[in-house]
């Protein structure tokens, strides 16, 4: 029986090549898109699956309240480690202090390469269960040691068994390789952990870190823990909640509350709003999951529509089969078998499409997904996927076709009823509603990105570069380098900063000033900068002046941004003082010498934070900032600057960043979202049009005689075109009417997450509607015009 079903299904497919092509290719494209999204979703959902201890590993986060606003983050102060070990040690298997992931030059022989990595405490390899290839897990015991990822060892030494060999870090200290571990796979936390250097080294390496051991308000570190098996994340969170307030009573006013953020939630649930975990990437997982389902649904709708539209062609077969004894159930099974076969073909083609597109998709989605050939779960899921698709697309046609009355069919009086096309129309409306909503949604995402890109940044990003100078070799060279850079002619201005131009690495509180409201809990973005800060960055001064060598008193000066002046409620700020209650010499307050226009350095979707730019008297420098010489070409400037750099640091690789490029990276996540949305929207439209094309050709075929008669009676080609096209255009108009409010509501909700946001303007709807109508006209017209220009004699004879 099954063989008979397959045989007839195959022959039907071969006989109706156009329909088969539309069905199979539409389904294949839809399935391929859904499979790619499925692989992406699986990759997202299996994040951190590398870690065997992921159920018990957590990072310590803290909530802190400033003026009623709860901020949440992973940055913690050093004394927390000691408090946890002393007071709560019995809750933990491991406590691991860590630096932030940071770039570092590692040198061996003539190779000097920049790698990302962390400084971590001894238990890190054990807690993370690193796969040690050579050496020991306790490789962080000795201060001057280093553990290397396999790829790092290969890059530096050309081999991986390098235990005992020496690596020079940042051109200064020799470290002995104590272990080589397997690289951590991409969709896991610490995937970019290309080296681990002992925490002991970090602490003694820089003075401020050493000093920070007593400061509860210096939130500059990370702390990871593994809890004991006999406790829970919630229980431990509860126990450690007040530890910071106990350690430093000053923190009571900020209601500093510590808690564990479990590793299982790092990847998908990392966003906090006013102290509450509100999700994170999980939103994208849902978004693309839904888009994937919709694309598949669109392809299935094509199958349903074309199968039912062509039902009259299959009616005779149904009648015959029924007359010779087939029961309805058998017919339903037969038609489901056919849809299964079509879906199976489509699946095979879809795999081909996925394999071809996977690289491009990975680039677009910033992933390293590999096709899971050997994963039994994948094939099982694929089988379920095929069955679901077959049921989704085959059920209605199977029920519909098997319901025909054999008497009517065999008598030749069978005609699909007056309302038989209604479900088809509803499905076409659904298809175009989904497509139109996707068009509108994608346009809003693109508009929001453009809107944020067009936002004034308050400084001149063009022609500004930053050179990372975080290692000790650069210390004390600031003035020498400034002079050399400027005299080289490659740069016209020079300053330094403790944070990159596109971020703020430090936030501070604990200041007092005249007219400060009692109980006001300030939270200020803090950056140390140097002479010519305003000039180099191209900032607009609102009042006051830049830091300048002409004023010796500038060693205790500060420039505020406009928002900070409003935030601190300062009237006539120039010349006023801000006192830092934590400085060793509280008698040396910071004098406000300038107020600048807001400089957008953090999220382009959020308001600019109140910021203070404090003159750097202790050489707290992370970057040298240079304004390139506008009279020379960029490459010329860069050559001149590089020559100066190389002359002074011959063993350090030349590294720099264009500030405008760094700023552009802020849109990466949304741009990625927009690119994927664009592609999937295009696919949705294509699949819908494919279905429309099929239906249009069916209608043209069905109405051949009518067209012939009308033509003989004098109908023009344009009248016939309108006759055939208007039904489809009406359906698309209905879709647009349905889609518009839905899309408006959903996109308004999406925009809510950006403080700085565009509106869902009418132009988006106008463009989407015109676009959809135009696409429909093009799709339908091909068949309509073909039918309209056919020779009426011929079309009448075919009857």
């Amino acid at each position: 029986m099954l063989k008979n079903y397959f045989k007839i299904a195959l022959r039907n497919l071969l006989k109706n090549k156009v329909y088969s092509f539309i069905n199979i290719s539409g389904l294949a494209i839809g399935m391929a898109a859904t499979m790619l999204i499925g692989l992406w979703v699986a990759d997202e959902l299996t994040g951190n699956s590398y870690y065997k201890n992921r159920d018990t590993i957590a990072q310590i986060y803290q909530h802190q309240t400033n003026n009623g606003e709860v901020g949440t983050g992973p940055a913690i102060p050093r004394p927390l480690e000691f408090a946890l070990r002393d007071k709560h040690g019995d809750n933990f298997k491991h406590i691991v202090m860590s630096s932030w992931n940071q770039p570092r030059y590692l040198q061996h022989g003539d190779k000097n390469i920049n790698f990302q990595g962390n400084f971590m405490q001894e238990a890190a390899p054990e807690m993370l269960n690193l796969d040690i290839l050579y050496g020991e897990k306790n490789g962080l015991k000795e201060k001057n040691s280093i553990m290397l990822a396999e790829s790092t060892a290969k890059a530096l030494f050309g081999e991986i068994n390098v235990i005992g060999k020496i690596v020079k870090e940042n051109n200064s200290t020799d470290l002995k390789v104590t272990a080589v571990y397997k690289d951590i796979p991409d969709n896991n936390a610490f995937y970019d952990l290309r080296y681990i250097i002992p925490w002991k080294f970090y602490v003694t390496h820089q003075e401020w870190i050493e000093r920070s051991k007593d400061y509860w308000d210096n939130n500059s570190f990370q702390l990871f823990v593994q809890i004991n098996d006999n406790t829970t994340m919630e229980a431990v969170s509860e126990k450690i909640e007040k530890v910071k307030q106990i350690g430093d009573p000053d923190m009571v006013q900020y209601n500093a509350r510590m808690f564990l953020h479990p590793m299982n939630r790092w990847h998908l649930y990392s966003d906090f709003e006013n102290g509450i975990n509100v999700g994170g990437r999980i939103e994208n997982v849902w978004l693309f999951g839904i888009i994937g389902f919709f694309i598949l649904l669109l392809a299935c709708i094509n199958f349903v529509n074309l199968s039912t539209a062509r039902s009259e062609k299959r009616a005779t077969e149904v009648g015959i089969r029924k007359s010779i004894g087939s029961q309805r159930g058998q017919l339903i099974f037969q038609f489901l078998t056919e849809s299964f076969l079509v879906v199976l073909f489509a699946f095979v083609i879809a795999i081909g499409i996925v394999l071809i597109c996977l690289n491009g998709f990975n680039n677009l989605a910033d992933k390293a997904i590999v096709f899971p050939w050997t994963n039994a779960w994948y094939w099982f899921a694929s089988l379920v996927f095929i069955l679901i698709t077959a049921l989704l697309s085959g059920s209605y046609p199977a029920l519909y076709l098997s319901s025909f009355n054999p008497v009517a069919v065999l008598k030749g009086t069978f005609k699909a009823g007056r309302f038989s096309s209604l479900p088809r129309k509803i499905l076409v409306v659904s298809q175009f509603t989904i497509s139109a909503a996707l068009i509108i949604g994608t346009m809003v995402v693109m508009n929001q990105i453009q809107f944020s890109k067009d936002r004034p940044t308050g400084y001149d990003k063009e022609g500004l570069i930053q050179i990372p100078v975080m290692s000790a070799e650069f210390m004390g060279k600031r003035d020498v380098m400034r002079n050399q850079f400027l005299s080289s002619g490659g740069a016209v201005d020079f300053t330094t900063a403790s944070s990159p131009a596109t971020s703020v690495w430090s936030n501070r509180s604990g200041y007092t000033w005249e007219d400060k409201q009692p109980g006001f809990q300030e939270d200020l973005a803090y950056t140390n900068v140097h002479y010519d800060f305003v000039k180099t960055f191209g900032l607009k001064l609102i009042e006051g002046r830049d830091f300048t060598r002409e004023f010796a008193s500038d060693s205790n000066a500060v420039i505020l941004n406009k928002t900070a002046v409003e935030y601190m409620n300062l009237k006539d700020p120039i010349g006023k003082y801000i006192r830092d209650s934590d400085t060793e010499d509280p008698n040396e307050p910071l004098k406000i010498v300038g107020v600048v226009e807001d400089m957008l350095v953090q999220s382009p979707y959020e308001p600019v934070k109140q910021a203070m730019y404090v003159f750097d008297q202790y050489e707290n420098v992370a970057f040298w900032n240079l304004r390139l010489n506008p009279t020379k070409s960029v490459s010329e400037n860069l050559n001149l600057i590089e020559n100066v750099f190389k002359k002074n640091f011959p063993n350090t690789p030349w590294d720099y960043q264009f500030v405008d490029e760094e700023y552009g990276k802020k849109f990466k996540s949304e741009e990625r979202l927009a690119s994927l949305a664009k592609i999937f929207t295009a696919l949705a439209i294509f699949i819908s049009c494919l279905g429309l094309f099929g239906l249009a050709s069916f209608v043209a075929e069905q109405r051949t005689k009518e067209i012939g008669v009308r033509k003989v009676l004098g109908a023009s080609i344009s009248q016939l075109w309108l006759l055939l096209s208007k039904d489809f255009l009406t359906l698309v108009v209905i879709s647009l009417v349905v889609a518009s409010p839905i899309a408006y509501y959903l996109m308004s909700q999406w925009l809510q997450k950006f403080t700085y946001r565009t509106n869902v303007g009418w132009s988006v709807f106008a463009i989407a509607c015109l676009g959809a109508l135009l696409i429909t006209i093009i799709t339908v017209s091909f068949q309509a015009i073909k039918a309209a220009i056919a020779n009426p004699v011929k079309s009448l004879r075919t009857e």
Binding site: R11, K15, T316
Partner: protein, 225 residues
């Protein structure tokens, strides 16, 4: 074999109700060859559909082999049909996507006959219908006469007790028509009951009895042999 009493069938549209069969009664014995004649719209085909268990009467009694089958559900009708009734249609009604062999094989598949047995029986019947040489052809590659032979082969392959033929020669020229009628005669002589709806007096003469209908009722009955 067949006993119908006061059989009724109505067709309703939104505004009118048409009586297709109006208290029709007659009997057909095992081994008979009965022709049913009458003008278009007199209810012949409706009757044939009810006799073939494709349709259900709205009133009256229909006994098949002594068993009341009026009111049977679709499943029971289908079961009875596939074991007892073979159809021959005017327009042959072969499945275009299946070969001659596969078309004839189809009823055997539905009755669950094993593949080897199916092959044997299909070949036997194709030989008998002299169409064996066309076994791998598709319907559209055959002449009308050949297609109707295949349809007859399909109708008889399951050895049904009853063959219902709805104008079996209506789409054929006289030579092919006569050949088909000869086939039906052969089957009847071998013991199969045949009820044939026809407009052709010539074809009707092959039968044992002619029932003439008008407006859903029997008007005359002529016994020929």
């Amino acid at each position: 074999m067949i006993q119908i009493t006061d059989l009724e069938k109505f067709y309703r549209t939104e505004e009118v109700q048409t009586i297709a069969l109006n208290k029709l009664s007659f009997e057909v014995k095992q081994g008979e060859f009965v022709a049913i004649m009458g003008p278009s719209g007199c209810g012949k085909s409706t009757l044939l559909n009810i006799l073939g268990l494709l349709d259900d009467p709205d009133g009256g009694s229909f006994k098949f082999n002594g068993e009341e089958v009026a009111g049977y559900n679709e499943r029971k009708r289908s079961d009875l049909r596939k074991h007892n009734v073979g159809f021959v249609f005017q327009s042959f009604n072969l499945i275009d996507e299946l070969t001659v062999f596969e078309n004839v094989e189809l009823p055997l598949i539905y009755t669950g006959v094993k593949p080897a047995e199916r092959k044997k029986r299909v070949e036997e019947v194709l030989e008998k219908m002299q169409i064996m040489h066309r076994r791998n052809h598709f319907p559209q590659q055959l002449s009308g006469g050949q297609q109707q032979r295949v349809a007859v082969a399909r109708a008889v392959v399951n050895n049904p007790k009853l063959i219902l033929a709805d104008e079996p020669t209506g789409n054929l020229d006289s030579t092919n028509g006569n050949e088909v009628m000869d086939l039906l005669i052969d089957l009847n002589e071998a013991g199969t009951t045949i009820i044939m709806v026809t407009h052709s007096e010539h074809d009707a003469k092959y039968s044992h009895r002619i029932i003439r209908m008008l407006d859903g009722q029997k008007v005359t009955e002529n016994i020929l042999a």
